[in-house]
């Protein structure tokens, strides 16, 4: 859910201008890159099974540099959180709750995130398990209902704007898959550490297939120009589908489920961020950080004043963040190999869990 829950709402707006009709393929290429990142992260998790990201960085590079790397990770998570929550809030505000102030929707969003963060990663994971299947069912249903409206020839030419733009689109899409590095902050909670790589890879693969399908159907229904024009392509797709004359205008049902998925993703990112801050500061408990960080997150999510600004920031984020997500595990792995670091240490979440 970390991979697709917020990004898929507007991913097509970013991928289609780059790759054209082949945007869905670029999502798959992004998935392949994401699998590589997941593999690297899995190798890290296998090397430091009892460490959070800050712990790993401190073990490899020493405390000062490790904390600095931890702070860059917190900054990354904060941007994911700010942009993700803004995107979700906008989707609800523009399409459904036009008279509700967005700050109010954002506040409700963060109240729920705060509650989830208080309960901890186990609660988030267990609720995700319930909602993941519901979200997948909703997407399968949406796909089935979209088939009669879709025009497959709109996916031609198959390579879209050409090979180079396709790869460029793949790199943009990879930034969504790369968000899976957030898991490094809490992957130590896995019982079966050896399965970390596989679990992350499965998540990335499923997430990017969903994103590719959503993008492909968006193009088939709205065309390349249409999809670049609409604010939230997936939402527009949901608006157009129906079954007979009795199941129409069902987009709110879809959005309610997707909103829940986005909430859980952002709760996980929020948790990753505050536990990393606690690790950097050497705090025994992350909970005192929840309220201040939630206020920061709300403020961050309100920085883009307009939809246009939000998508500008989002465009910049997907352009560059993938390199950070690749560099982080690569640097840690190379450092660990050079220094021969392995295992050991304790971090705030472990202390908290006890």
């Amino acid at each position: 859910m970390i991979v697709f829950a917020t990004g898929f709402l507007a991913a097509a707006r970013i991928l289609v201008p780059a790759a054209g009709t082949a945007a869905w393929i670029s999502a798959l290429i992004g998935g392949a890159i994401g699998l590589g990142i997941a593999g690297l992260a899995g190798m890290l998790a296998a090397r430091f099974p009892d460490q959070g990201l800050v712990g790993m960085a401190e073990r490899v590079f020493g405390a000062p540099l490790g904390k600095l790397i931890g702070l860059t990770f917190v900054a990354y998570c904060s941007v994911v959180l700010g942009l993700g929550s803004r995107e979700s809030v906008l989707a609800i505000w523009i399409a459904f709750l036009q008279t509700t102030p967005p700050v109010l929707i954002s506040s409700v969003f963060y109240l729920l995130i705060i509650y989830a963060a208080y309960l901890g990663i186990e609660a988030i994971a267990r609720v995700s398990l319930i909602f993941f299947s519901l979200v997948v069912i909703s997407l399968v249903l949406l796909t089935a209902l979209a088939i009669p409206v879709a025009a497959p020839t709109r996916l031609l030419p198959i390579v879209g704007n050409g090979l180079r733009p396709l790869i460029h689109g793949g790199l943009l899409a990879a930034s969504y898959a790369a968000e899976s590095v957030v898991v490094l902050a809490f992957i130590r909670h896995l019982k079966d550490k050896r399965g970390a790589s596989r679990a992350m890879a499965t998540g990335v693969a499923v997430g990017m297939v969903i994103m590719s399908t959503a993008t492909g159907f968006g193009v088939m229904m709205l065309g390349v120009r249409g999809i670049s024009r609409v604010t939230f392509p997936v939402l527009e797709t949901a608006r157009m589908v129906g079954f007979g004359q009795f199941l129409e205008r069902a987009e709110i049902l879809f959005l309610a489920l997707w909103f829940s998925a986005a909430l859980l993703k952002l709760a996980a990112v929020f948790y990753a961020s505050i536990t990393s801050i606690a690790d950097v500061l050497g705090l025994r408990d992350y909970r005192p950080l929840i309220i201040p960080y939630a206020l920061l997150g709300t403020a961050l999510s309100l920085i883009p004043k307009t939809v246009l600004e939000t998508f500008d920031y989002l465009g910049m984020f997907v352009k560059y963040s993938v390199w950070y997500a690749i560099a982080l595990p690569v640097a840690l792995l190379i450092g660990a190999l050079v220094r021969g670091s392995r295992r050991g240490g304790e971090s705030v979440s472990d202390r908290d869990a006890r």
Partner: protein
């Protein structure tokens, strides 16, 4: 991540657990209260909502925009005979949105546009460009992209005001026609979404269904005109043929047969019935149902290169398909292989002539690619080549290229009888 594989490391003390339970209860109570009062502040009863079923847009003689809305009037007594089921309202403004917002001031109900079934453009407005309406409608969060789009040469108000006994309003009648009789309709099933996507593609220009007001036919002996739905002398709606647009502007009308040919060439023809003279029997006729057709647009080799793509001069439209025999009024009963071969050749010639007429009309009168040839070229070309080199001049290329129809149809089923019943003289 496997939750079952996750450590349940958090083991709160009893006090902490109790506190957490109390908090959970407080949160749940807050959520329940919030959920139960949602919408109370600005609640609207269904009687106060005007469901817009049809929207008509035209241009007045002095260049202003007039908008018609056909609004359903929900009633607690649907069977009440004298109860008006729908209501029409008109407003005039400088732009489409200006006229739409003025509609609200003329209605005692809150106009709700999420159920618009039919969007009807008047001819004058369509000739001036339908894009003037698209922006306002595409931005509207209520308006549905699946609404049917029609163009009419008759007054839009009269079209939406037509009384029909088959449906409670003209808009619902048009919706029923498009949904239920698609297989026998010689009009494109044009939706708002298709219009949005095709006005931007020079190689896939829009064909919109045409709706006309025609004199209601005499229902011949049935009391009170019950069978046809209209009284004799009144007008009724007919969906037939299409309006051809170049970009967003109406450039001409296609009759039912031309429309069927255009849809066949674009692989959008669901079914088509036609009658033609029986080959080899002057005076005899034969009727068919087209049950399958498939069109391929064949380009010369090397079209993928920008230079070749910019100079397409020859295109072959190959259509293959099957027709079922539905009626034979001829002494020729088609009982030999040779007669069937002659018939198939005749069918192919008949349809080929129709396609040739359409090509001539599209190239010389309309000047736009309603055949979807450009769309087929776009599929074969790198997107950049199409967008930069071909699309800007496609209309001109289309007008000058040599398009050759190659139609090959075969006869399928001949019905439940091999020969016509033959009366004794």
């Amino acid at each position: 991540m496997s939750v079952t594989g996750m450590h349940a490391r958090t083991q709160p003390s009893a006090a902490w657990a109790g506190q957490r339970q109390r908090r959970t209860v407080v949160v749940l109570v807050c959520l329940l209260v919030a959920a139960s009062i949602t919408g109370c502040r600005d609640a609207r009863e269904i009687e106060s909502v005007g469901f817009v079923l049809g929207l008509g847009i035209d241009e007045t003689a002095d260049g202003r925009i007039e908008v018609w809305a056909q609004v359903a009037l929900p009633s607690a007594k649907p069977t009440e005979g004298e109860k008006q089921e729908s209501w029409r309202v008109r407003s005039v403004g400088d732009t489409v949105w200006d006229a739409v917002r003025q509609l609200n001031g003329k209605s005692t109900k809150v106009l709700f546009r999420a159920h618009v079934r039919a969007l009807v453009f008047g001819e004058r407005f369509a000739r001036g460009g339908v894009a003037r309406a698209l922006d306002a409608l595409a931005r509207d969060k209520q308006f549905r992209y699946k609404s049917w789009v029609f163009v009419t040469s008759d007054p839009v108000g009269d079209v939406l005001g037509t009384q029909t006994k088959q449906s409670s309003s003209a808009a619902l009648f048009l919706d029923d026609i498009m949904r239920n009789t698609a297989r026998s309709l010689t009009a494109p099933r044009s939706r708002f979404l298709d219009l949005l996507t095709s006005i931007e593609q020079p190689g896939d220009q829009p064909l919109l269904a045409r709706v006309r007001l025609v004199e209601a036919e005499d229902v011949g002996g049935q009391p009170e005109g019950a069978a046809g739905g209209q009284e004799v002398g009144s007008k009724e709606l007919r969906v037939e043929g299409s309006a051809a647009l170049r970009g967003d502007r109406l450039v001409g009308w296609l009759d039912a047969e031309d429309t069927a040919m255009a849809l066949m060439v674009c692989n959008r023809l669901e079914a088509y019935s036609f009658i033609m003279p029986m080959p080899g029997d002057e005076g005899g006729t034969i009727g068919f149902d087209m049950i399958r057709s498939h069109a391929d647009t064949l380009f010369p080799e090397g079209i993928r290169t920008p230079r070749a793509a910019g100079q397409v001069t020859d295109v072959v439209i190959r259509v293959t398909g099957t027709v079922d025999i539905r009626e034979v009024l001829s002494s020729e009963q088609l009982m030999s292989a040779r007669s069937l071969e002659r018939l198939e050749a005749g069918i192919s010639r008949h349809l080929e002539a129709g396609v040739r007429r359409l090509i001539d009309f599209a190239q010389n009168r309309l000047g736009c690619d309603v055949l979807g040839i450009g769309e087929c070229a776009r599929h074969r070309l790198p997107a950049k080549v199409w967008e930069e080199d071909v699309a800007p001049t496609w209309h001109d290329q289309f007008r000058t290229m040599r398009i050759v129809p190659d139609i090959r149809f075969e006869v399928g089923k001949r019905g439940m009888t091999m020969q016509s019943p033959k009366p004794i003289d």
